[in-house]
């Protein structure tokens, strides 16, 4: 019997190890698995490489994880965030490494990682500083940059509904990076606002099939990052 449900976020992230690469879903607060991130802060793994589109806001969620000093490298497209000093302070003081990747290249690199594709060519960033040091090649008269697939040891993903097989559906634009990150990690850990019986999710409408998911934790009323930030909350 397949049952990927675990009772707590703490148990779900218990084996994240020092030095692990961790993909974290979300675009801003939409889709950010804030309870899993907080559990990871409590868990204490350090020297992490984190992959996320942004760098968090305020001092909760991803920003709190960065502030904890346990992230040595961030792979990211847009780390500039209104209202958070955490990343700028770390970056300017040289306490975190940044790999800046255009957003479409980032999502495609993650998809490639999950799809067993080690490298591909993209027109994005040709002629810009972000192609520096990368192999370029001309196809049909146009120049392209070679980019590599990206995989991770763990992915932390938020969805709206899941079943015990790990089939997932998402809420609106909270879908964003979740489905591709789920494919690219050795261990994909999901927080679902609701866990439903097997067979409830429409097979035609499942977004992430269970094959990509390792663990599911129910978090019935996930916190909203913007609300915590507005209230000045600092985690832990």
């Amino acid at each position: 019997m397949i049952d990927k449900e675990l009772p707590t976020a703490a148990e779900a992230v218990a084996d994240v190890f020092d030095g692990a690469t961790v993909m974290i879903g979300g675009f801003g607060e939409a889709g950010s698995p804030i309870e899993l991130i907080h559990a990871l802060i409590d868990q204490g793994a350090s020297g992490l490489t984190v992959v996320n589109n942004n760098a968090g806001s305020g001092e909760v969620g991803l920003a709190a994880l960065l502030k904890s000093g346990r992230v040595s490298k961030l792979i990211c497209s847009y780390p500039r965030t209104a209202g958070s000093r955490v990343f700028p302070d770390l970056y300017r003081s040289g306490r975190i490494e940044l790999e800046l990747v255009p957003q479409g290249t980032l999502s495609e690199r993650i998809r490639a990682g999950g799809a067993g594709i080690p490298a591909f060519f993209t027109p994005t960033a040709v002629g810009t500083p972000l192609q520096d040091g990368k192999e370029t090649r001309t196809f049909d008269g146009r120049d392209y940059v070679m980019e590599h697939g990206l995989t991770a040891d763990f992915a932390l993903v938020k969805c709206s509904r899941a079943d015990r097989h790990g089939n997932l559906v998402y809420n609106k634009t909270a879908r964003n990076f979740g489905p591709v990150m789920a494919t690219a990690a050795t261990t994909t850990i999901v927080q679902a606002s609701e866990i439903v019986d097997i067979g409830v999710l429409d097979p035609e409408a499942v977004v992430t099939p269970g094959i990509f998911v390792s663990r599911v934790v129910g978090v019935a009323e996930p916190a909203l990052e913007s609300e915590l930030v507005a209230r000045g909350v600092s985690y832990p």
Partner: protein
Amino acid sequence: MAKRAAFDIPDGAYVNLGIGIPELVAKYVPEGREVVYHTENGLLGMGPSPADGEGDPELINAGKRQITAVPGASYFHHADSFVMIRGGHIDICVLGAMQVSETGDLANWSTGSPDAIPAVGGAMDLVAGANAIRVVTQHCTRDGQPKLVEACSYPLTGAGVVKRVYTDLAVVDISGDGFQLVELAPGIDFEHVRDLTAAELRPLPN
């Protein structure tokens, strides 16, 4: 200028609007045209901001502001969203600019200052992939420096990508041959625009 840019968006177009002034374009598209707005964080069929208290913090645009979805909308994940962009399926992308060169180079993501936090988002993908890149921007910076230049001094977002620029003073096309004036804003004369353009600006044909 957002209004002028909106006038050039045809019925049935699939359009991505950059953060800031370009977002205003949607408000000015003439009545009777059905335009489908794409936001790279995973929605085709973006509608206006929600009424107070009716928003969903997980229904946002690329600028991370709450939006709505119109009938006929669809959600998708990030890789699929950039299939639309990189694959040439977006008809028009309207972006802001820090500098545009006379060969169509665009700089809009970084001043190159060593102190700045580098952040690129989806701008490089958009300029590489969308079929027509149009820029909406003030003609000059806040301190009066021309944004239309011979060559960008800031790091590029993309090379040779911009086809048309809408400013507060004029509409300017970029042809193989540099900046070509298309239209002057009401009350603006050619000499004024030329003086505030740091590259040759060809006047309207007689």
